[in-house]
């Protein structure tokens, strides 16, 4: 089981509590599609992903960004059993969506950058460590059911 310090718990609840999922989700996903363009392979039906501007204004990307963040919220609410909470989602990503689990880390890094940009100097090294630890557990749990 993952051990969380009081600081880590508080940091995660604080960041996500203040976060606007409707803004951060689309920002993180569209950044991922620009910075790591091979991730576009999973979004063949999303229409125009031709350049950064198209991706940023693509309504399907925005909608999906929100779906992803709402999924992440489940981990925020169940920090003591992220693995169990995500068992079904892991099967979904493996069996139905066929997503290479290496991609989870790429999206996690983009989310880190988006949050860093929003929090500025409040995104201290300790906050970053807590945030990245949380995302690492999420990424690991999402990859858990792959076989």
């Amino acid at each position: 089981m993952v051990e969380w310090t009081d600081f880590e718990r508080a940091t995660i609840q604080d960041i996500f509590g203040k976060m606007d999922y409707e803004v951060v989700g689309p920002a993180a996903l569209s950044r991922c599609l620009v910075v790591y363009p091979w991730t576009q392979r999973y979004f063949g039906g999303f229409g125009n992903l031709y350049n950064a501007a198209a991706i940023a204004s693509n309504p399907m990307v925005a909608a999906h960004g929100k779906v992803v963040l709402r999924g992440l919220d489940r981990a925020v609410r169940n920090m003591d059993d992220i693995k169990g909470t995500y068992a079904e989602l892991s099967v979904l990503h493996s069996e139905k969506l066929h997503v290479d689990p290496d991609n989870f880390k790429l999206l996690a890094d983009c989310l880190t950058i988006v949050v860093a940009a929003q929090l500025g100097k409040d995104f201290t090294g300790d906050v970053q460590a807590a945030f990245q630890k949380f995302l690492a557990v999420v990424v690991s749990s999402l990859g858990r059911q792959y076989h």
């Binding site: 569209s30 620009v34 910075v35 950058i113 500025g120 990245q132």
Partner: protein, 143 residues
């Protein structure tokens, strides 16, 4: 994933905006690296003080960003431009090249915190590619 002309232009444009804060960026990135990735502290056991913002950390952050500045100036031929630095990392410092990725990530995070409006997705991809290319050039002489 080599640097296109567009990437080079984007890197130079971003660098023009951030370079006067290079010392602060270096100090913050290095401090972050040491606390977020504690295994990296093993390379600095000879420093009296590894805490964020300490004198050795600040001085070293400045040095690292000097290397980044050099890489920007040699962006058209990173391998040759960073050859001497590669030799030092390979033979003297013996830094595992996996750590270059870690420090690059910390630099990206710091640039995002300090320049949120300038660090657009396009600037991000260009800088990420550039730091990866620089890391590759730094690994050149390892084996």
């Amino acid at each position: 994933m080599s640097l296109t002309d567009k990437d080079k232009a984007a890197v130079k444009a971003l660098w023009a905006k951030i370079s006067k804060s290079a010392d602060a960026i270096g100090a913050d990135a290095l401090s972050r690296m040491l606390s977020v990735y504690p295994q990296t502290k093993t390379y600095f056991s000879h420093w009296p003080d590894l805490s964020p913002g300490s004198a050795p950390v600040k001085a070293h952050g400045k040095k690292v960003m000097g290397g980044v500045a050099l890489a920007v100036s040699k962006i058209d031929d990173l391998t040759n431009g960073l050859l001497e630095l590669s030799e030092r990392h390979a033979f003297q410092m013996r830094v595992d090249p996996a750590n270059f990725k870690i420090l690059s990530h910390c630099i990206l995070v710091v640039v995002a915190t300090m320049f949120p409006k300038d660090f657009t997705p396009e600037a991000h991809v260009a800088l990420d590619k550039f730091l990866s290319a620089a890391a590759l050039a730094l690994s050149e002489r390892y084996r």
